[in-house]
């Protein structure tokens, strides 16, 4: 397939990349390209300059800080997340989710930063980074700024990354004791496009002390469900209590229906995946009862 004519540059530093991106109104960063190349083929976006950021050392590392937090460069691929020892040991769920995105070819190219910055509501990682309370580090020529993941996703294909900025890294705090994470999807097929997703992080010590429940595919951006979180707080970590709390997900959700599922079906599935994600979080955090 023939793309529209486009210029390409592969800068050698982050500073140079930012300069190139600032040089044209229609410059776009190219990381793994597993979505962008198709966008260019279909000519649905006007891009005149592609700035290939995929090899920048500044965006390629996975670092562990003394408090156990992970700092993951924006151009780390899904396959690298899946196979990284530090990620597997401190955030096994992130490694697992990354290892089940689409197929091996996409996992060898697609990046954590691209998955987040595209902000497609069906993407795998946005609800997870919100649930894990990650911090997004955004770089521009005037320096770095930090945005909590919960404020990063603005809606369909829109994030906090503005013109002249690049997502540099994603910092994920360690879960802490008694805390577990869970993730569940109802998808069209194995490891494919989702109809509903949920990610959850739960801290329990006899009873549930804190819960973050994040829904995806049912709103323009990942949605923390305050009602279900409130219902979980203070309740027993049992299947019955979690099921009851999931009933708080209801008419407040206004998902779009499409060929894969009606709005009503998505709302129902949101309850199902939220319940499963919370139960998994409880089980992996070690707080399961009955």
């Amino acid at each position: 397939m023939l793309l529209e004519s486009v210029a390409y540059a592969r800068p050698e530093s982050l500073a140079e990349a930012l300069q190139l991106l600032g040089s044209s109104d229609s410059a776009a960063p190219l990381a793994g390209g597993q979505s962008l190349v198709n966008v260019l083929k279909h000519r649905v976006a006007q891009v005149e300059v592609l700035v290939d950021i995929s090899r920048l050392d500044e965006l390629r590392g996975i670092e562990v800080s003394s408090d156990g937090a992970l700092e993951i460069g924006a151009c780390v691929t899904y396959d690298e997340l899946d196979r990284s020892e530090p990620v597997r040991s401190s955030q096994p769920l992130l490694a697992h989710v990354a290892g089940h995105i689409e197929d091996q070819q996409i996992r060898c190219r697609g990046t954590i930063g691209g998955n987040c910055c595209l902000s497609d509501p069906t993407n795998n990682l946005p609800p997870l980074v919100v649930a894990l309370d990650a911090t997004m580090v955004i770089e521009s020529s005037s320096g770095a700024r930090e945005v909590p993941a919960r404020d990063f996703f603005h809606g369909y294909f829109a994030t906090a990354v503005g013109e002249g900025e690049l997502l540099r890294s994603i910092r994920i705090p360690s879960l802490g004791s008694g805390t577990g994470a869970g993730y569940s999807s109802v998808a069209v097929g194995a490891d494919s496009k989702a109809i509903a997703r949920a990610a959850a992080v739960v801290r329990a010590n006899g009873s549930i002390e804190e819960a973050r429940v994040v829904l995806a595919c049912v709103s323009p951006a990942p949605l923390r469900h305050a009602g279900m979180e409130e219902a979980l707080r203070g309740s027993q970590p049992t299947a019955e209590a979690v099921s009851d709390a999931a009933q708080r997900i209801g008419d407040d959700l206004e998902p779009l229906g499409d060929v894969h599922g009606s709005a009503e079906y998505r709302r129902e599935m949101a309850r199902v995946v939220a319940r499963r994600a919370v139960l998994q979080a409880i089980a992996t955090g070690g707080g399961q009862r009955g």
Binding site: R10, Q19, G33, V37, Q105
Partner: protein, 161 residues
């Protein structure tokens, strides 16, 4: 600072042989392999990254070559189906596809051989589930996959022997 340009000079190593070429920045790697290097073993099926017929291995990464611009491969080592058996001796994967009837029309086969080769390098003794997950990105419209999965399992057993 590097300049952005619609034409790029790239240098790639394909199956051990160095190639230097001038390409349009918009050229997909699969077209570069097929049209500029005349290596037609890498097939174009869907052209949208869905079917995996154009799968190659680039610097140890399994990649659909229709989802990469040729300039993105600058400096890379690329393995294509033509390089799998350089001396004409079939590899265990190829032998197994032959013996286990792992192909019918053969259109998807180059991509599947690359995906299977990649899998067995990483995981010489895969389970059936691991084999099926490893070829998740490769579509075959003839076989129903049963003989393909059998071929890859058989290749693993053959390599272990």
């Amino acid at each position: 600072m590097v300049e952005a340009g619609t034409i790029q000079t790239i240098e790639v190593t394909v199956n051990g042989e160095k190639h230097r070429a001038t390409v349009a920045s918009r050229q997909l790697l699969v077209h570069f392999l097929r049209d500029s290097l005349a290596m037609k073993g890498t097939h174009i099926g869907c052209d949208t990254g869905s079917c995996g017929a154009c799968t190659v291995i680039i610097d140890g990464r399994l990649t659909k070559s229709c989802m990469l611009l040729a300039p993105q491969a600058d400096g890379a080592e690329i393995e294509t189906i033509e390089g799998v058996a350089p001396d004409g001796q079939l590899t265990p994967v190829q032998e197994a596809f032959h013996e286990q009837h792992g192909l019918q029309c053969g259109y998807c086969t180059p991509g599947l051989v690359m995906a299977a080769t990649f899998l067995l390098r990483r995981n010489p003794d895969p389970t059936e589930d691991e084999i099926r997950r490893a070829i998740r990105g490769n579509i075959c419209r003839c076989t129903g996959y049963v003989n393909i999965v059998r071929s890859i399992a058989s290749a693993a057993a053959r390599e272990a022997a």
